[in-house]
Subunit: 229 residues, 2 copies
């Protein structure tokens, strides 16, 4: 199985172009864009996901060059809708929902969204390129000589929808088709209330195959479940 | 800052000593302990925590030698309290609560707990040794020449309580004292509803210091928050 992830800039951040936004209230005075920029990083890092931590690492790398002062905050909600007189930032980078995008626009705080499934429109976003990863996976499996294919990923989430498009874009012109197993993400965390249903669907899908088959799974954990089925 | 983690066997698993428990229903028949053992691994791996993934890797390493067939399942609840006629296992390893420990005992399924904060008693557990990590941290900070110390970690969780004991065990005989900042874990994930309160307490604590000070933080993410304060 192959899980490729290629990062593509959908729109570049304009944070460093802005000048003169209020600085850290307690120890800095506003001096026409000369003070250090304070940027809030809201990546839900309590989840140890590699993609969150590597986004964080990439931001820090850029921030060091740009001379930003980055502050890690659990959620963009706490920056854009704080409980009380919170310290203003010069910009925010995180998982930005539509109401948060509106809040950022209202207070003129530059915001960069890194959440693929965000319904927010008109916001700069930096997202993984799932179409290309779907294409690469298909090319890899075709190159390995497979003639039958499968795709397994989330239901109702953009990553799988876009990845399938890329997967199909390679396979269709070659005359290949593929079956899919798409499942709701909810119910597989915590107590795993959706586990039995997920497993039942997975077993049915795997039993319908005529091996050999080349399969793309959107996520390593679910790929593990498939291997164990 | 130092975050050390030393694994200690509190009690060893007895899973491989058991014989003759029903095997995978669909393709194996019960042959007096000769069939491959099926073990459920329930480590909440949807969180990408290093400690969960490395526990999983360690289990797989042992399983390969022992010839186990491991199945990754989101939660021990789904194994010990399944919705419907689930496939039985020969053993389970995971975050075992008291009701789950009782359920395992009732169906005579060997269970190994890896959750430090589990209230379950009379269960084999494999846990990180937080007392020793607290000692190592104190020794490290003393070795660096600090004379004032601080500890920051969770409120009402065993890891911090035990780590503080180890920290104190080294510092007290040397005549050193330390201040602590302990905070509830809840409210710092998701929307971060407890963020402002957490930050307020953190700033007050840091402002009370008389530097230089050597600080042990129980978790890298919260250490990052401290550095940024």
């Amino acid at each position: 199985m192959l899980l490729a992830k290629i990062i593509r800039f959908i729109a570049s951040s304009r944070i460093d172009e802005r000048k003169g936004f209020p600085q850290k209230a307690k120890d800095m005075s506003l001096k026409a864009g000369k003070a250090t920029k304070r940027v809030a990083i809201c990546l839900e890092m309590e989840w140890g996901h590699k993609r969150h931590l590597e986004t964080y690492a990439g931001v820090q790398k850029y921030a060091e060059k740009a001379g930003w002062d980055c502050v890690t905050i659990p959620s963009a909600v706490r920056v854009l809708k704080p409980k009380s007189g919170a310290v203003p930032f010069d910009g925010i980078l995180g998982r930005i929902t539509e109401p948060l995008a509106q809040a950022a626009h209202k207070i003129k705080m530059p915001a960069v969204n890194v959440w693929l499934n965000s319904p927010a429109k008109n916001i700069s976003s930096v997202l993984a390129d799932f179409e290309t990863s779907g294409k690469i996976a298909a090319q890899h499996l075709v190159g390995r000589g497979f003639k039958r294919f499968g795709y397994m990923g989330f239901l109702r989430e953009k990553d799988s929808r876009i990845q399938i498009e890329g997967f199909r874009e390679i396979l269709k012109p070659l005359g290949f088709r593929f079956t899919t197993y798409r499942f709701p993400r909810a119910g597989l965390g915590g107590e795993g209330l959706g586990w039995e249903r997920f497993l039942d669907g997975l077993e049915k899908w795997a039993n319908s195959w005529q091996p050999p088959i080349g399969v793309l799974v959107s996520n390593d954990l679910y790929c593990r479940h498939l291997i164990e089925t």
